[in-house]
Symmetry: C2
DNA sequence: TTGTAAGCGTTATCAA
DNA sequence: TTGATAACGCTTACAA
């Protein structure tokens, strides 16, 4: 049982294996009646094509590689989105969490492209922002799609969100709550998304006619948020709101506030970015921005499969919308 | 370039492809000098065996399937551990996050075993605790290893931690801090680990000569922790410590305490279990138990590959030790 | 200790 | 619109 091959199906349907193959791959030149007969045989025998044989014989591997930073808080959402797209198109996914940076990162990608024979590579930030990564992918001639903005002047294959715009909306939200002294905690300068978020802050402050405050730079991790928070809370006059480039740092700022005896959101409003699982479980719940990660990943994987399937395809850059998630870490400005 | 086959290597080394194959697979019957020559040729040509061809020709797929609950907080640690083991043994990993329960879950596993031809399956809790799952794996004859205790009376293939014992240590820690009224928030009754943790609590209370208190049952999620916390804080006399079966629920209890104006750890000590990333970033940092997830997953994958490679192998159940992680959510009992 | 030849289950080529 | 038949790059008998 459960070991039917294409030959069995061909025999059962009374056709050649090539015809079965045509049906399997949705090729057009098959008469409807024949196609039906083959499909029936497939069901009757519970036939499953052997992926290894298909890979060996075909030009493709039906394999996608997903490269992302290990311990990235959105890894599982990205995986879910990609897997969804893969299932629809009969692709499989090889995940490749990665710790390296710089040359070592490039080496890993090179190795990945060489040893595992994937049809295409999907990269997420901050990997996709790494110096030389895009160039390497071109050099290796591996079709790829990145989650993150394409480089300027490069209409590249990418899926992104409107970070800058939504970041500006965050400022408008705070301004509407009466905040005037709104500080910012910047993210790691190598991550492109972080730059966009900061620009959105500046946009929002300018649009509201407010003066932007000190904007210390963190490294995206909790501790750096704590440090920046401490620094900002030492200011005089103190900010009434601190906007952070991601949730981890926002958690750090909340910790710093707690340590300084500053109550959130009574004395201080805090916002994050990403809506990681932590955000809803902090006390107070964190006002943040939710990116449609599954959708982005799904879109990216579809795009990649399209690109692989259809080599002549045009460049394609998608932008999906993020959404504000209002929780309890933001409130009216203290008087 | 980069498309050398076994034939190229054989020619370069002046041997037959069979000899190359022997070297590749570490088979013993090759003279050292020959082996060296082959290895040199492999390096010289940057030869990479074609995994698809190997799968097709061999009896194995060199593929492992990892089935886990989608959005599980330890998914990435498990993946990392498994991938490590896979790399060492030239296996690859197909991940299979899963949302189903009951019959639907069994159907997914059945489908997975049928369609993707994996050599073996790795299951993590709570999937591995699902009713009928172990039986199905036996029926399907898919070699598998579970992360979670083997069933009683079944010396099965599993890797587990000493949850019960470490849970007891948690009680000893609290007792040492002067706590006498220590309540417990139980986890989802279908998850075996949850039962063990609760038993450890009972052990610890008995050993300390304390009377166990109300132990409301949650569903492992934040909200249920909040609900149970609220309930326990309404008790009179109120517990001075609440031990939770996992971190999510502990976060919920902290939220409940905050809402009730009860300070942590001043008025109330709270502990979790799992040391998810959230635990360190809560305010206050959560005292919890860290399981060696990467190690467990690594061990499980090694075990599975051994089992697959060596069908005659004996059952094997491993137990690895968890560790207490003391943070700021526990402190001296209030007087 | 090494080599020869026959698969493994598909897709691709080319003819019918 | 269909079908022989040859790849694809390895492993596995079976010989030598």
């Amino acid at each position: 049982m459960s070991k039917a091959t294409i030959d069995d199906v061909a025999r059962e349907a009374g056709v050649s294996i090539k015809t079965v193959s045509r049906v399997l791959n949705g090729e057009p030149l098959v008469r409807d009646a024949t196609r039906d007969r083959v499909k029936q045989a497939i069901v009757a025998l519970d036939y499953r094509p052997n992926a290894s044989a298909r890979r060996l014989a075909g030009k493709r591997t039906y394999l996608l590689g997903l490269v992302y930073q290990q311990n990235s808080s959105y890894a599982s959402r990205v995986q879910a989105g990609v897997l969804d797209a893969c299932r629809d198109r009969h692709y499989e996914l090889l995940i490749h969490p990665c710790n390296e940076k710089g040359e070592a990162l490039l080496g890993e990608i090179r190795e990945l492209a060489a040893s595992r024979r994937v049809d295409g590579l999907l990269l997420t930030p901050p990997i996709s922002d790494g110096a030389g990564v895009r160039e390497l992918l071109d050099e290796l001639r591996v079709p790829s799609v990145v989650l993150s903005k394409a480089d300027e002047g490069d209409a590249g294959w990418s899926v992104d969100t409107n970070d800058r715009h939504i970041s500006r909306q965050l400022i408008e939200h705070l301004e509407g709550l009466g905040h005037r002294r709104i500080a910012y905690v910047r993210g790691h300068p190598d991550h492109k998304a972080m730059g966009n978020r900061y620009r959105g802050y500046l946009d929002g402050m300018a649009a509201a006619g407010l003066e932007s405050m000190a904007a210390p730079v963190g490294d995206n991790a909790f501790e750096s948020g704590r440090r920046c928070g401490k620094e900002l809370l030492g200011l005089n006059p103190r900010p009434t709101a601190i906007v952070c480039a991601n949730d981890h740092m926002a958690a750090g700022v909340i910790r710093a506030a707690h340590e300084a005896g500053v109550s959130v959101p009574g004395d201080l409003s805090v916002t994050g970015f990403d809506d990681i699982p932590l955000a809803g479980q902090l006390t107070p719940g964190l006002t943040t921005v939710r990116q449609p990660m599954e959708d982005m990943a799904h879109t990216a994987a579809q795009l990649l499969i399209d690109r692989v399937t259809n080599p002549g395809m045009e460049n394609n850059a998608h932008v999906l919308d993020s959404a504000l998630v209002l929780r309890d870490s933001t409130g009216p400005a203290p008087d």
